[in-house]
Amino acid sequence: MSIQVQALTKIYGTQKAVDGISFTAQPGKVLGFLGPNGAGKSTTMKILTCFIPQTSGQASVCGFDVVTQPLQVTQHIGYLPESNPQYLDMYVKESLMFIANIHRLHNPAKRIAEVIEQTGLGPEQHKQIGQLSKGYRQRVGLAQAIIHDPQVLILDEPTSGLDPNQLVGIRQLIRELGRTKTIILSTHIMQEVEAVCDQVIVINKGKIVADDSLTGLMGQNQNKSLEDIFIQLTNAIIG
């Protein structure tokens, strides 16, 4: 298991953002993390990437605990945050070199050329990040996430802001990466889940309401679209 989460809870003040969730993720599979806004998806991802500490429970990545071994965890994780923060006055290659140097890569120039090719940044690679459109900035974020060839990828809404052509390319890239790596991605686009995910976790108000393979989830709810299943699961109390 490359990601193991056990009874994870995060409390902000009086609000329970994540409420005792447990799940695992394996290599070679893309795990879709679904749920309404504010359900606790991003919080879980921030805990897994050692950005914020949990209130209780355990989480480990590649066997390393996120609280006690953060350096090992962050070495094995590639993370694309939801807001995709970037140093806007850096040039594309400069920012990739910066990240490559943090990871002490041996041949950074070669690896940078590879990820630029993989993410389709080629035509924009000589620009400043501040000059790029949202879709290309998103690719820079993705390139930074994969540059050190991590075993685990955590992508928080990786396809937001992309046009339909870019969507296809990036989804294909995620699928390819997902053959060997463990990927957790969050999204609000149900077609995307159908296109790239093997396993689906639906989270609502900090609790897991469904954890199944994509085919299993579809099988249980025959004749229903994934959208209907999502609404049924996360709106249960009102409906």
Binding site: I77, P81, Q86, Y87, I102
Partner: protein, 225 residues
């Protein structure tokens, strides 16, 4: 960009004080010494160093790029020391061109070369340590807020208070027994400026810097934002 302008303004103002304004001009003073340089520089540092440091952590937090750093295999200490050393190098670059003034005074002296070189070296070391202390204050101020203006204002106040505020307080009648001035930067700065590098002064500056960097670490480690 901010750094170039700050260094430029520092050199311009210092040049005006040293060579143009009559009250502090070396030429009017008539002695071959750099006293007015080392008397003026701390007050310029008090405003200019916070201008250099105010962005360092406050902007990272505001723009969210701190998440980019914190989720990489870096310790908080690496991030803090990286910021600290980057700002300290800028301070060093601001000081380097003023060596020209030493050469000027050295040449203008009568007889030529009539300047207390030992005291100048001591004063430069003192000024650099003082800059190091102000940078530590500035980094700390930048960590407690995500607003650059607040970071600047807090850093200016703390720098002023640490430099001369404590000394002034110690002259209050009710504080006279507590030797408050020993905690102020000015006392130790003056001591080093005399050209005697006392380990107690060195220890004072190093502990001062460590304390502020440790407080920065505590604030960053909390991630309460």
């Amino acid at each position: 960009m901010v750094a170039y302008i700050t260094i430029g303004v520092f050199l311009l103002v210092l040049g005006l004080f040293l060579w143009v304004f009559p009250e502090s001009s070396i030429l009017d003073y008539g002695y071959a010494a750099l006293d007015s340089l080392f008397g003026t520089a701390p007050y310029l540092f008090m405003f200019l160093i916070p201008a250099i440091t105010m962005r360092s952590l406050a902007e990272e937090r505001k723009e969210g790029t701190f998440e980019l750093l914190a989720t990489r295999p870096l310790t908080d200490w690496q991030i803090i020391l990286g910021k600290y050393l980057a700002c300290l190098v800028l301070v060093l670059f601001a000081l380097l061109p003023t060596l020209v003034y030493y050469y000027s005074v050295h040449t203008l002296g009568n007889p030529q070369g009539n300047i207390d070189t030992g005291a100048v070296i001591g004063s430069y070391i003192g000024l650099f340590l003082l800059g190091g202390a102000f940078v530590a204050i500035g980094i700390f101020a930048s960590a407690i807020t995500n607003n650059q203006i607040i970071a600047f204002t807090v850093a200016v106040f703390l720098s002023f208070f640490a430099f001369s505020g404590l000394g002034s307080l110690s002259s209050l009648l009710s504080f006279q027994n507590y030797a408050l001035q020993d905690f102020g930067i000015n006392e130790h700065y003056q001591s080093i400026s005399r050209g005697v590098l006392d380990t107690r002064d060195l220890f004072y500056f190093l502990s001062f810097i460590s304390i502020f960097l440790m407080m920065t670490k505590i604030i960053l480690g909390g991630r309460k934002w």
